[in-house]
Amino acid sequence: MIFKKLKHYRMKSTKPILYLLLCIISIFSRGNYLHAQQTVTDSALLDRISTLEQQVADEKKGESHFMVAGLTTFGFVASSANTISGGIGQKVRTNSMADADHYEFSPMLLWRHDKNVLLEFEPSFDGNSLGVNWADVSYFVTPGLIVRAGYFVLPFGTYNKRLAAGWIDKVAGDPIGVADLPPSSDFGVEVEGGLPMGNMKWSYDVALTNGMQLLPDGEIQNAGIVDNNKNKTVTARFALMPFSNSCLEVGVSGMFGKVGDAGSAYEGASTDMYAVDLNFVKNISPFLVNIKGQYNAIHINNQQYINPVDSSSFTFKNQTNSGFIQMSLRPTVGDSKFVKNLELAFRYASFKTPNESAWSQNTNSYDVGLDYWLSWRSVLKFTYNINNTGNTVPVKLGGSPSTVNTNSFYLQYSIEL
């Protein structure tokens, strides 16, 4: 009886102890589990931090940096050319996609070697060939002095160096005679800089290059990477911005050097060229008014040239003049984003080569354009151009006086890459 009671008591008293033990085991197990979970979490966090640290290290700002910029221009042109020669007229209509004169794909490679050295290389495909617009290295010596060497755009006027890019130019084409005469790029060295002067600013740009080569018909072309004579050509531009808000810039340029091949009949031939340029950009409500212009005068000293008809010698005053003036207006007021993205542009260009030469011509060109800016660096251009050219090559040089009046419509898209 006593034994039975004891057994019963033992069973009754064992249960709470068992529960207590189970609880303790459970708590300890849970603690271990939490500890294990914590360890796993810590490990994942450490891995993540390590990965992020590596990513930060990979993105570490260095002195060297490489990038691709540049531009591409693609468009459509429809033209109607009316040629009148000897009292007989002939009309030819064409259309083309892309516009062969203005298509280009020009990725520009920029390599900032360190904070003071920049390398620039711009290959360019124009639909027929692959050329190079510039390939140079610039060293930023002091705040007002940059030294450049290589193949670069000459500081003659501003059109070629600043305004020729399709996404910058307000009309579809280039101003005739300004973009290609004199040749825009050359091999050599250059020093340049922009400097403050009280409320004004001024800039200088001086280049020493191989220079040009005079051809037997009196035209000039680039001498190339091997100089055609011992003389180097100096090209310089000086500009002043008289107002503190930089709205006006006036520049004068000159190019001087020998242009004849050493040892040739043109050994003494030299050139003196001058250009003046103007840039005015100001917000005059309700428009952003943009006026640009450039005038070039190219002169070669007196030489004897070869008549292409009979190879006899003849001479003429070798003076070529070209220039353009352009104005564009972009609305700056109102709520319409569409209207604010529009820009209206006008341009007049003139190109006159020597009267008595075998390449004599007198051209006047007028452009009216409406641009729609898709972004700050991409534009859709609608341009209508009227081009009147008088071919004034003398008969004794094989010429046949004629006039060509060409009306062209351009639809062009250009973007900075």
Binding site: H65, M67, E120, F140, G144, L163, P196, N199, V281, W376
Partner: protein, 93 residues
Amino acid sequence: MKSLKYISKTSAAIIAGSVISLAALFITGCKASQAVAAKSGAQLWSENCQRCHNVPSPSTFSHEQWETIGLHMQTRSLITEDERKKIVAFLQQ
């Protein structure tokens, strides 16, 4: 004739040296007025970029790209170094 040639070369060297020295003095001596020096990057960005093209959006390029583009644009537009640094700092924001 020889002495003339010598004098000519010496004169040329003196003239060239003087021109370079004066140019260096002029370049380093050029300073902006207080009002111009106090201009912000945003103001310089709106005044200078539009001289050739539309004002660029800061979001177009990364910080590093703006540094490189800034150098390239300085060679093209011949803005001053101070202007370039302020404009780039504004575009990096």
